[in-house]
């Protein structure tokens, strides 16, 4: 009897380990995560418009249909990227996601304080290599450090009423994301 109880206790401990291990490993094993879904339609280091979600078809689940969205799937292995997007009338935000879809940075038009959101994206190692005695100070130039070499830049621009959509789309169309 005691022996059986011990076996069950062991089994439960092992079950806990199995549970934690699967939860931790799942993000690495997921084949249909947001990055994978975007990769199917977006080339590397280019801004691609994501079709507005419809009941029949959506690139990602839980997309906000009031927003026009463009995505840049970046790869910093060949060097830092320069990113810029003109802000539209209502609300524009730029969110950065790691390869495993963790949001590590987001900025909106008001925080940027200009007509254009402009920044440099690089890995921590590339940032450390930047010469320090350059004339350009940190205030002129927003530098975002990516925790992973690849990831997603998601540009969201709000079209608060349907009449706004063309203007918002054209603002997003001039977004740029290219190697320096």
């Amino acid at each position: 009897m005691i022996r059986l109880a011990l076996w069950l206790l062991g089994a439960l401990l092992l079950a806990g380990i199995v549970h934690l291990a699967t939860v931790l490993i799942l993000p690495r094993m997921a084949t249909q995560d947001a990055y994978a879904r975007v990769s199917a339609i977006a080339p590397v280091n280019a801004v691609v418009p994501i079709p507005t979600p419809t009941p029949e078809k959506a690139v990602l689940p839980f997309m906000d249909p009031a927003f026009e969205v463009s995505i840049c799937r970046y790869d910093l292995s060949r060097g830092p990227l320069k990113f810029s997007v003109p802000i539209s009338q209502a609300y524009t935000s730029v969110s950065f996601y790691t390869r495993s879809d963790i949001a590590y940075y987001a900025i909106n038009d008001r925080a940027a304080g200009r007509r254009v959101i402009e920044l440099d994206l690089m890995t921590a190692a590339q940032r450390a290599e930047l010469p320090e005695n350059e004339d350009i100070t940190a205030a002129d130039r927003l530098i975002v450090a990516s925790p992973t070499t690849t990831g997603l830049i998601v540009i969201r621009a709000l079209a608060p009423e349907t009449g706004w959509i063309p203007a918002v789309r054209s603002a997003l169309a001039s977004a740029q994301c290219r190697p320096q």
Binding site: L8, L14, A15, A30, P55, D64, I102, N108
Partner: protein, 192 residues
């Protein structure tokens, strides 16, 4: 022989319980660290690098991109204030005000995060589109049949969820109660 039997039994039980627990945790939406106000629950931490492992696994599984914390906060409701699951065959009244934000959007999804087809081709409201009462509050009828005023069609699906996203908002992880963040009440009305 007994040792072998015990080992196999223990391994089978461990695999079944361990995987079962993972499955339940990821499908039943039991992520930690949520902020619940009335019928609404938000996970402001999911938009940061401090996202917990369960939420990470859920995000990886569903394929969504959580709203970044510098961008906004999303609140989800799949039941009304009385705790009854939202049913697309019933009329539900959303009324009240939202926490402070530059813009907000309200969107209706099926449980998998797809928009729901309907004849009006309306899937939600933005804070600019909404018709407000004199005191700034608003009423939205969520239901299968057309209604005057703000009508959000359900398309008659049996299960749906409402997502209220607040953009450029000071609301964040510090908030805990309805006094910090007044969320709209969700009341069930007549069913078809």
């Amino acid at each position: 022989m007994r040792l072998l039997f015990g080992t196999v039994l223990a391994l089978v039980i461990a695999a079944a319980i361990g995987l079962g627990a993972t499955w339940i945790a990821l499908t039943q939406g039991t992520a930690y660290g949520g902020v619940t106000i009335g019928a609404w629950t938000g996970w402001p931490k999911n938009g940061t690098q401090g996202i917990d492992p369960y939420a990470r696994a859920m995000v990886a599984r569903s394929g969504e991109l959580p709203v970044g914390s510098g961008d906004g906060v999303a609140f989800y409701a799949n039941a009304d204030d009385a705790g009854l699951a939202l049913d697309g065959r019933c009329d539900v009244l959303l009324s009240g005000i939202t926490p402070q934000a530059r813009f907000w959007t309200l969107t209706l999804y099926d449980p998998e995060g797809r928009l729901v087809a309907n004849s009006a081709q309306r899937h939600g409201f933005t804070s600019q589109e909404i018709i407000r009462n004199a005191d700034g509050s608003f009423d939205i009828t969520v239901g299968p049949r057309a209604r005057p005023g703000n009508w959000l069609p359900t398309g008659g699906v049996d299960k749906y969820l409402l997502v209220l996203r607040l953009y450029d908002t000071p609301i964040g992880m510090a908030m805990r109660t309805g006094r910090d963040a007044p969320m709209p009440a969700i009341t069930k009305r007549a069913c078809l």
